[in-house]
Amino acid sequence: MKVVFERPKSLQPTKTHYCPGCGHGVIHRLVAEVMDELGIQDKTIGVAPVGCAVLAYNYFDCDMQQAAHGRAPAVATGIKRALPDRVVFTYQGDGDLAAIGTAEIVHAAARGENITVIFVNNAIYGMTGGQMAPTTLVGQKTETSPYGRDPQMAGYPIRVCEMLATLDGPSFLARAELTDVKNINKAKSYIKKAFEMQLSGKGFSLVEILSPCPTNWGMKPKDAVDWVKNEMVKVFPPGVFKEPKEG
């Protein structure tokens, strides 16, 4: 029988702890497929965050380090500076990257650190049970914004790609939505581009992926995907924010 679909080599043959309908499983797979296609599994070191993806070191079949909350870009910097011919990526959520780790991500980007960042934005803290994130939408109800995020009290969501695009350091910044086949393929093409940037030494690359969290949003999986499509993309428009000029 012809094999038409199989587990990427760069993923461990194990179950994940992710909830039904969560985007992390798909995003792990996209990153692993890209590692396979680029033939970099053996020379890649990944950095896992604190948050829902904390156990990513059990899921990727490559060397991994687990970082303190928000510090993944600093840890990745240490690895890359020590071993500049290896491929280094971080895998971070919105609380990790855009709240407690804001300084680390901004300065890794400003230095043009030659690493790749996979940034999963689901507008909420998942692992701790659904608290308000730096990317929580105005009016969105969470455990710590039970009446909806009130800008008078809690300010506004941070647009990471747009913010980092003001810097000279990054080579590639893009945002995709995990909503349908077309957009999932687009997310994968961005991830591939981001790793290619690192392989050709062009410096910091980041792909932000808008991802559903049905459990903490209190929605059915399909409704969660629709919420990404209908609500999140209004605040976080998908697209490429920075890429090298042709020629």
Partner: protein, 352 residues
């Protein structure tokens, strides 16, 4: 071997390069600034990495990444900056990563001042971050010893897969003394087969981690660390006893304070007081052996520190009530004179 005149901070930096330090990550703070400046100049010329981080927090996490990748790595700072690194130090200990962390102590608490102090003793020896862990703490008292201990620090870190702190102070970092960089035979150290270098043909993935969600597993891990700490306590206590042979009284002091205390001991000797000096070189493990050595003949101990009494607790824990323990300290960047300490030695004799 050529003798050169060097500032403590610069000598430390040079020794680190010679000890095989490949990466340095740091953040500017007084009074250790000459150290990163030296490495910023020398590392690129000698095949190493110097990177100024955006914060102390980032710097210690860069250390984590590079240590996990298997290279010799160092960071340096001074008291307030070391406080910021505590989260990272806890993770480094949990993940068992070797590295060298330099603290050129200044006065605290808070922003304090930029004058020499020894008030980070508790933080260094009790583990300033969260969790059940220990760091090896080395306390040099001269620029030469600072240099020698840098080599030992890297070796101890690799041998035990544990961070090593070098605890200096503003005087030691800033003063110039003649120093010799001795060639040292490479020590036999365990291979870093745990490092995340990329699999590079390896079957199994290497993972650097301090998370053990199952309490059974975390207890096992902590007990494994504890066993390592017990081994370090048994094997690595270091100290020096000066004027100890016929001594009835002992001053206990470390770092730059021990230099001043030694002058006071010499003054007391001229005055006919039989006093010696115990100078701990490792602050953790604390050199309890030194006390066992002198306790049969010791009538009393006087601990002198640039703090209001931190190491004195370890002195009491070592003496265990077998002799009186007195204390004298200055704080906030003030440094006692030998005369001041001499007066305290006389008081000790009068009291016991």
């Amino acid at each position: 071997m050529e003798k050169v005149l060097m500032k403590g901070n610069e000598a430390l930096a040079e020794a680190a390069i010679r000890a095989g330090c490949k990466c340095f990550f740091g953040y500017p703070i007084t009074p250790q600034s000459e150290l990163p400046a030296y490495l910023a100049r020398e590392m690129p010329k000698r095949g190493g990495v110097f990177l100024q981080a955006e914060s102390e927090v980032a710097a210690i996490n860069m250390v984590y990444g590079a240590a996990g990748a298997g290279v010799r790595v160092m960071t340096s700072s001074s008291s307030p900056g070391i406080s910021l690194k505590q989260e990272g130090i806890s993770y480094l200990c949990g993940a068992e990563l070797p590295c060298v962390i330099v603290n050129i102590m200044r006065g605290g608490p808070g922003l304090g001042d930029i004058q020499p102090a020894q008030s980070d003793y508790f933080q260094a020896t009790r583990g300033g971050g969260h969790g059940d862990y220990r760091t090896i703490v080395l306390a040099p008292s001269s620029v030469q010893e600072l240099v020698d201990l840098v080599y030992d620090a890297f070796d101890l870190a690799d041998m035990y897969r544990n961070p090593v702190l070098i605890l200096g102070d503003g005087i030691l970092g800033q003063m110039m003394e003649p120093v010799v960089f001795k060639e040292r035979p490479a020590r036999q150290l365990p291979p870093k087969d745990w490092a995340t270098t990329g699999k590079m043909g390896r079957q199994k993935t290497n993972v650097i981690n301090s998370l053990y969600l199952d309490p059974v597993k975390l207890e096992e891990h902590n007990l494994k660390l504890f066993k390592k700490y017990q081994e370090i306590e048994a094997k690595e206590q270091r100290y020096e006893i000066l004027n100890g042979d016929d001594a009835e009284y002992f001053v206990v002091a470390y770092g730059i304070c021990a230099r001043i205390a030694h002058a006071a001991v010499e003054m007391a000797r001229e005055d006919g007081i039989k006093v010696g000096l115990i100078r701990p070189i490792t602050l953790w493990p604390y050199p309890k052996k030194a006390f066992e050595e002198v306790l049969p003949k010791a009538k009393a101990f006087l601990t002198v520190e640039l703090s209001l009494g931190q190491m004195v607790e370890d002195v009491k824990l070592s003496v265990e009530g077998r002799a009186p323990v007195y204390f004298y300290g200055r704080t906030g960047g003030m440094v006692p004179t030998a005369e001041e300490i001499f007066e305290e030695i006389k008081k000790m004799r009068g009291l016991s």
